[in-house]
Symmetry: C2
Subunit: 350 residues, 2 copies
């Protein structure tokens, strides 16, 4: 029998995280009798003064939000990271090591209305979000080593407020994922003399089979080593280290590809597609000026849905204790997303 | 201000996984407005011939289950790993690496009745499960490098059948988690001349503050570096490499500590406590006889609930893209579990 990646189980290597994933395409026909998610029934209102993210609403700490027109950024009222805390001091035992951590947690609203999401916003409005992302990274990056921009979208992803928003957690330390990506990209650069993700972008542009959408400056692919069923990676085609290194044209182009990718996501199961997403770029703060040529800016989109709006992939037992596993191959997921229209189903259906 | 680990954020190091976690105890007071889980309303029947795990039921492939009295093990009808598949051959590019994978997936029922769980079973019955775990590890370990026993418990953990059961996936490859734990334990052993987890057990027995329950042969602790709110690690006090190295006394003692730990778990929120759990021990197959003294057998219990039977900890945006984060400290979680009765609330309430 000849090996067919669409039929035969195999493992694939993720060079960015230095880990493997088990691909079992033959398992696609498994019936599902487990938990189904309840689609959110609450109809979201455009404006609700009880929602602390709305313009004019009063937040937990008594502050009144301005009547903002595009984005609005403020400090999280329940931050996981505070700016100033005492240092735990040196550890006494190699198995009980702790370190100091400080930082800041911000919330960024994308739009004054609660009933829109990024794919339903205009290119101009998305561009405003991107500009703000760059600005906050630049600002917080003056002090902190790592500025993590991330969006939890949908209740299934722990998002507790339907108003379109993301979070920005800046920290004095390089978090695990950053540390691992830094090391892997550095090793690759040393060995091959080219940034890993530039090599990767070029390969994917040439092969096409995992590309979902691309334009003059960006490409979105289901990575060869994707873990989540419809996971994608969004990358600039040029070597760019951080969000604030993008020029005007590249930001406009990013707004374009984001709208197209996220519209496809929503169209896949005709639902506002849940995911966690986030940006990774070269470290900042006191690490800004060390050698960082191995870094390439990119975003990860990690959506949990597998078969429909209500059936997700569970990353549980085997995945938590041994290794990530997927059924659908990356190439199959990419083909499915590629075929979907770039007009949003809500406009289409109305 | 002096550093107080119960109040001040800090990071902690997980020496087994070589990664860090962010601890933010000051964030415990955060209100929760996000998704609440729907507690399963289905009343589970003791026996249902439509349930493919019950004695006498017909499975998907047409086979009839025997009228088993204790455990019953069979091959998964929708396995992620098959025994015999073609090899992908050598990879052409360092960014597109795949490898051959083969293995076998088994399902093990713990008990003939669908309406019991491990903490509600007798010590004798739990002992039968442990004996079977050892036996399957020994048998599958003859051929495969890694035998992963794991239990997904509860719908919230992707468990699609209420009948008490676990799974066993044996593979020709060392999965990520195994590979990482192997490396970390090896490094520690080289440096300190003692297995890492033997040092750890002794420290925890002495300090007590993270111990949940212990007996003559075992200890269950909320590890210093726990990620999930009520995560525990269960370890033999003696140096034991694999499940099948346990003697009769140690197996009986394991049944005792499992019943006590799992009863406390159920009592925490008066619900059948969901979790994913699994065993890790020294590799097997062609790796059985290489130097493995650095390995110590242990089980991880990874339960998602945070505040109540319906509010879980979401490991999303920041956790997926940067670093795991927790509010409650390990010491606080351990104290809470320690105080709970060792009589099951269902017996207590009736
Ligand atoms: O028990 P099942 O239905 O085979 O499957 C469950 O556990 C597997 C192993 O952790 C996961 O890969 C699946 O996503 C999950 O639904
Ligand atoms: O958005 P929230 O409510 O602050 O919190 C959400 O995202 C955080 C960062 O990923 C997680 O730590 C929380 O578990 C999740 O509920």
């Amino acid at each position: 029998m000849e090996f067919d990646p669409r039929e035969h189980q195999h493992t694939r290597y993720n060079p960015l995280k230095d880990e493997w994933i088990l691909v079992s395409p033959h398992r696609m026909k498994r019936p599902w009798k487990g938990q189904v998610e309840k689609p959110s029934e609450k109809k979201v209102q455009a404006k609700d003064l009880n929602n602390p993210l709305c313009p004019g609403a009063v937040r937990g700490n008594g502050e009144v939000n301005p009547d903002y027109k595009h984005t609005f950024t403020f400090k999280n009222d329940f931050p996981a990271l505070l700016e100033d805390v005492p240092d735990p001091g040196p550890s006494q035992h190699p198995l009980f090591r702790s370190e100091a951590a400080c930082g800041v947690c911000e919330v960024m609203c994308f739009h004054p209305r609660s009933d829109v999401t990024l794919p339903l916003m205009t290119l101009y409005e998305i561009n405003e979000v991107i500009r703000k992302w760059s600005e906050r990274t630049l600002e917080l990056g003056k002090k902190y080593r790592w500025v993590q921009i991330f969006e939890n979208k949908g209740e299934i992803m722990g998002c507790s407020n339907p108003h379109p928003h993301c979070q920005i957690w800046a920290s004095s330390f390089l978090p695990n994922e950053a540390r691992i990506e830094d090391r892997s990209q550095k090793d690759y650069y040393r060995k091959h003399g080219v940034p890993m993700l530039i090599d990767y972008v070029n390969q994917e542009l040439e092969m096409q089979e995992r590309s979902v959408v691309h334009n003059d400056h960006w490409i979105a692919v289901v990575p060869y080593w994707a873990v989540w069923p419809y996971e994608t990676m969004l990358l600039p085609r040029r070597h760019v280290k951080r969000l604030y290194d993008l020029n005007d044209t590249e930001r406009a182009s990013l707004a374009d590809i984001m709208k197209r990718l996220l519209t496809k996501y929503d169209n896949l199961f005709e639902v506002s597609f849940p995911y966690s997403m986030g940006w990774h770029g070269a470290p900042t703060g006191d690490m800004e000026h060390i050698e960082n040529s191995h870094w390439q800016l990119h975003a990860h989109y990690l959506p949990p849905l597998l078969r429909s709006a209500t059936v997700k992939k569970f990353m549980v037992g085997y995945e938590m204790l041994a290794q990530a596993q997927r059924d659908l191959t990356s190439e199959q997921a990419a083909a499915k997303l590629r075929e979907l229209p770039e007009v949003h189903f809500m406009e289409y259906n109305s």
